[in-house]
Amino acid sequence: MNRLEVNLPGLTMKNPIMPASGCFGFGKEYAKVYDLSVLGAIAIKATTVEPRFGNPTPRVAETNAGMLNAIGLQNPGLEGVIKNELPALERYQIPIVANIAGTTVEDYVHVARELSKHPLVSVLELNISCPNVKEGGIQFGTQAKVAHELTKQVKEVSKKPVYVKLSPNVSDIVEMAVAVEEAGADGLSMINTLLGMRIDLKTRKPILANKTGGLSGPAVKPVAIRMIYEVSQKVSIPIIGMGGIMCAEDVIEMMLAGASCVAVGTANFVDPFVCPMIIEQLPALLDRMGVEKITDIIGGSWK
């Protein structure tokens, strides 16, 4: 028996650890650092229809126990991802979570249809924190109806299970989660980054060229835990938990809150070996807690 194994729709993972989308590129950089086949899965950087350069630099800033980023979805576009990025991941024989983004429903549908056909893509992860240009810049991720509709349309074309990645910048996260579950989502990813800003005292201007950015890292973990705790009690689809995971203890805390597996983002920048390190440490931690299989603790804080 593999006590770390977790099974989610479309994701058979030998352990509950995957790098988070946008924090691991398309894998090839970290592939030079360690053997990626130890990972439970990999979530690759958001893919859009066309190649994008993203925002001007500076694109990162630091905060207390966290960081802000405003990369702006830089990526080589659907074609580039399929041609140049995905093939290199085959050798690791682990599930691939393809994060997709867009500015119109049509964008999402197109990328979803194409990427979900790819044999190496295990599931789609819908990044709904992007502004919907057609609806006047409101975010797909902050209005339940809009998120519901988007999910439904993506589900209709996707050959693979669809996870919706929720934005924490909402008044009612449960409402959002229920709306996308009702639209047919197979799972949830939460949380994406919190909107934040830092101002430089010398220049007196925002540090990020984009002004605002997404806050990630340990600072946001309590918000992630709270949201996962609330949502996991109200939906019956599994949650990929993320937000500030730095060590094995954080993984357990998030799974106790209700996540079925986790994604590690910012921590990769602090320590490129963090994912294999956590995977290695988990069994001893389970022993100390007297837990046999890691799946036994999912939602343990409220079950």
């Binding site: 207390n64 960081m67 920048f269």
Partner: protein, 257 residues
């Protein structure tokens, strides 16, 4: 590339806010390309959370020692400046691609142009070029006399010219003033310093061949996060290079400053 807890051998203030830090570790064996950098975790906790990129200033492969030169700037370098001999520092490196040291033939001339805290990588570069029998001219620019460092070290292998903005040492003005006034003869220009300086070199000196080393705020330092990109000259609008993994050193003319 490797992650290692290297040991501080010495720490010394060598000019206003400028520190020279020597560390020791096996990872130093990998540091054979001048212009590469290391990524340092300066605190145990998460404030600051990100690593700090610092250039390889000099390497002693026999002693396994790496010399870094840095300016105490913000919280990260302030914490670094508190490290004492015997302390350990979490180092990731070497990262990125360095200067082409084999582009010149014996007897040809290299012009090294360093501005402020852009000077350090040029020192290791100069030493390596010297080994290859290259003639070297160094132009080092600083704010004022109090900020100058390593002039005498560069004199070990090159003719050295210094400029200061306030004229308190060497030529008053910028490195470009020194270059224009002296109309040096050189085959290759190697430069590292603030972007406005690099731009001035590109515009006013228009070197035919050479390398620029660039800086940008970084996340991962290894090419995974897309924090440190810049546009490519004459490329598509979405074309880019990453300063951390494709650079920090680029052939002059390749990227948009």
């Amino acid at each position: 590339m490797k992650k290692e807890l290297v040991k501080v051998v010495s720490q010394k203030k060598i000019a206003r806010d400028i520190f020279q830090l020597v560390v020791k570790g096996d990872v130093v064996q990998m540091m054979t390309s001048p212009g590469q950098f290391v990524h340092l975790k300066v605190s145990d906790g998460y404030h600051p959370i990100l690593r700090r990129p610092i250039s390889i200033g000099d390497v002693d492969l026999e002693k396994n020692e790496l010399t870094m030169l840095y300016r105490k700037e913000g919280i990260g370098t302030a914490l670094l400046s508190e490290k004492k001999p015997g302390d350990v520092v979490d180092l990731l490196g070497p990262l990125g691609n360095g200067f082409g040291v084999n582009d010149l033939k014996k007897g040809q001339t290299a012009l090294l142009v360093g501005g402020g805290i852009g000077v350090p990588p040029l020192y290791y570069l100069g030493k390596e070029l010297k080994k290859r029998g290259i003639r070297i001219i160094s132009v080092l620019g600083f704010q004022s006399a109090a900020d100058c460092f390593y002039e005498e070290k560069f004199a070990e292998f090159s003719e050295v010219y210094v400029s200061t903005v306030d004229g308190s040492k060497g030529t008053k003005g910028f490195v470009t003033d020194v270059i224009l006034q002296n109309s040096f003869d050189y085959d290759m220009l190697y430069s590292c310093g603030p972007t406005p300086m690099l731009k001035a070199i590109e515009t006013n000196i228009q070197p035919e061949k050479g390398y620029f080393s660039l800086e940008e705020r970084m996340g991962c330092g290894v090419g995974a996060c897309f924090a440190c990109v810049c546009h490519v000259k004459n490329g598509e609008p979405f074309d880019y290079v990453k300063i951390c993994s494709n650079g920090p050193v680029f052939p002059i003319g390749e990227v948009e400053l």
